[in-house]
Symmetry: C2
Subunit: 437 residues, 2 copies
């Protein structure tokens, strides 16, 4: 059974704080091993990739088979049944349309001092996308990472995906094709991240690395952060549902379970202003659990990290939601827009009973790579932005220099950076403007 | 003497690669000590801050004097002479005007499938700005960090600044006042970063931490990254000047020196298509060095990391600039806009001879916190964005569910996430839509 709390309980604040502070991630101490793997790939390049892949994925590769040839990709992709192909194509179109709208504009203007100012956005030259292998190889994640990169204009998009036992997932290959991935390499783990960040003889390095992965991949992403850009280190998935009594308990129970089934450390929380409704949803979860293929995972997540919290009002639920700062937030209330306006911190919001979060995982269009573990307080889901960077632009005329130069000279002096001041002074002298007293 | 290279040298490519790969940062191994400090502040709160400040800054504080009272801030700020006050005010106005234009728009639309989609931007609730103490306490940096936070709408902006020997810089206090900083705490080092990230009894935690600092501060920012947002870990400053022969060598020499004087590991590079002009600039640098108060720093930087590279053409210079991906790029050529269009990777561009980089450090308006060490390949200068986060919004009507639900159900099945599929199926059943075969 999950935790049951009510904001009218005398000990609620302490219990809620303890609930918020609860650690869901297991610290696997792989950092030293990951450092060794990165050093090995930097030192021995392809040879290290081949050795590490033989050890971890039980696949024997050569410099020529590290990369998956186009013909192999196409042959695998061709095996995907028509219904899945159509669904994936629809998803890709919708994701592309949504992310197209995120593209920021360049700007250039002249201000009242005669200074031309602005900025320009340019894509990174190359991006790498880590795709987990085995059962966690989700084609939807390929689309969610690859399409924003391509919309941003990234010229070279590289996928690494481990092929344990030599097996590649046809749906993942098709998703790469649909999204416009340029290269696919059958490598995984920290060695793949190292190869993407530093390059090898055959794999040219990239500038940004995104995509989910296990503890080894996360530790490697942390280590290469700064040398290349990374998106985020995502934690276990979460859903917060705020629902009033007018909902179908079965729908809410399934929405909670759709996150719980991801991982034993996933978190599903219901906030409701009606205790009877809260009990009905919890009872329905128990009823539906045995029928799920992933029942053991979902039951563990629901038992260990799930919660039903009864609030005095929906407004109070909104306040708690901001303290939770959930990855996914469903607002199953009569006026979801009004409630949404009262909540600042959430990765993605799903409004009304006809918008289960699973729609957002696949076909709605917004990205499903979202901030977890309360990081929605300060960070955003994946978008075109990590694949773009801004260059600011400034141009002064002699007249603008005459107007702004003296202030710059004063501040340079105050900061005791004389060459800064002199570089301005040289221009002011040419304009016959006196130095300040 | 700095390095002299010419692209026509037979060994140029190897020499240029070695130059690019050269490490300028010293790895100070403070990580273990920083981990201890963070643990101490988390465990002992104010008491740890008081003890560590006594040890590192030789100042005895109490829980009541950790924070600088408003009266003390105002008294210090009042000491700033009128000319500096005016210059700082002008700088603040221009920085505010520039960053105002960066504010991203919210969006909400209904697409052809009847899905309401969009996103909302909200500021983080609280931000912390680290300001170094002593001579490195630059009021311009306070403006460059604090103003974007306030433009973004951050409600609570906290400055930490060490006061070695008890001394606070009046210009820094004035800059805080002008920028609208809400709290100032006289703490520094890793202990200040820990207090900002985790809070103490008297200092409430923040969501995002920005600002420059020494190796201890950088290591602490790395360690709290993920628990809070951070802007970047900045390295030593850099300037790349592309100049043709029609420039005044003295101006170019001073522009190069204005970066070299920052730090012995700063980097100043000149690319020119005219070898005689390159020699003239280098000679002028030597001539001007002895007159600078910071001559030892500037001379070391110029000698150890400076370079003059002669290219066959300005186009070739643009190609090299992209490989360098400089923090600051001056284009001192007849048609700087045309050359700028050929360069993708730079933190900030300064166009034409009347735009020395020092103008951008103080009063131009764009941010002077910029990506160093080739990270302009994938990252941008400071802006309002690190102080904002995006929440995506989705709302389906029953009709939109009927149109999108089946594809989501297919993909959930393909990924073997049954509860995902069932949460969609529950809605489709209510619409009397059959399950797929």
């Amino acid at each position: 059974m999950p935790q049951f709390l009510s904001t009218t309980d005398p000990g609620f604040e302490a219990a809620f704080r303890a609930f918020l502070a609860r650690k869901r991630e297991v610290d696997e101490d792989v950092d030293a091993a990951v450092a060794d793997i990165i050093a090995d790939v930097r030192a021995r390049g392809d040879r290290a990739l081949i050795d590490l892949t033989a050890r971890f994925d039980r696949v024997t590769l050569t410099s020529h088979t590290l990369r998956v040839p186009d013909a192999e990709i196409d042959a695998l992709a061709a095996r995907v049944p028509e219904a899945e192909r159509k669904a994936l194509t629809l998803a890709a179109e919708r994701i592309r349309a949504y992310h197209d709208r995120q593209m920021p504009d360049d700007a250039l203007w002249e201000d009242e001092a005669g200074v031309t100012l602005g900025w320009r956005w340019r894509p990174v030259a190359a991006a790498g996308l880590y795709v987990p292998g085995g059962t966690a190889a989700y084609p939807s994640s390929v689309l969610m990472n690859a399409i924003p990169a391509k919309v941003a204009g990234v010229g070279r998009l590289v996928v690494t995906v481990p092929a344990p036992g030599g097996v590649l997932n046809p749906l993942v290959m098709l998703a790469c094709r649909i999204a416009g991935v340029d290269e696919i390499w059958r490598i995984g783990g920290a060695q793949a991240i190292a190869a993407l960040a530093y390059g090898t003889e055959s794999l040219a390095p990239v500038d940004v690395i995104t995509g989910p992965g296990n503890a080894w991949v996360a530790a490697a992403k942390r280590r290469v952060f700064g040398h290349v850009g990374i998106d985020m280190i995502a934690g276990p998935s979460e859903i917060l549902v705020i629902a009033d009594r007018h909902n179908e308990p079965g729908w809410v129970a399934l929405d909670l379970l759709s996150q719980a089934e991801h991982d034993p450390t996933a978190q599903a929380i219901l906030l409701t202003d009606d205790p009877a409704f809260g009990r009905a949803v919890a009872a329905t979860v128990e009823l539906k659990l045995p029928g799920l293929p992933r029942r053991d995972i979902a039951a563990a997540a629901w038992r260990d990290f799930g919660a039903v919290i009864v609030t005095r009002s929906l407004g109070e639920a909104a306040q708690l939601a901001d303290r939770i700062a959930p990855e996914h937030l469903e607002l199953l209330v009569a006026e979801p827009e009004a409630l949404a306006a009262r909540i600042s911190h959430a990765g993605a919001m799903f409004l009304g009973p006809w918008t289960p979060e699973a729609i957002g995982d696949y076909v709605a269009g917004p990205n499903h790579v979202l901030p977890t573990a309360r990081t929605a307080r300060f960070s955003s889901g994946l978008s075109v932005m990590p694949f773009l960077k801004r260059t600011t632009v400034t141009r002064l005329t002699p007249d603008a220099m005459a107007r702004l130069g003296p202030a710059a000279e004063h501040l340079a002096r105050a900061e005791r950076l004389d060459a800064h001041g002199l570089s301005v002074r040289a221009r002011l002298d040419a304009l016959n403007l006196d130095a300040p007293a």
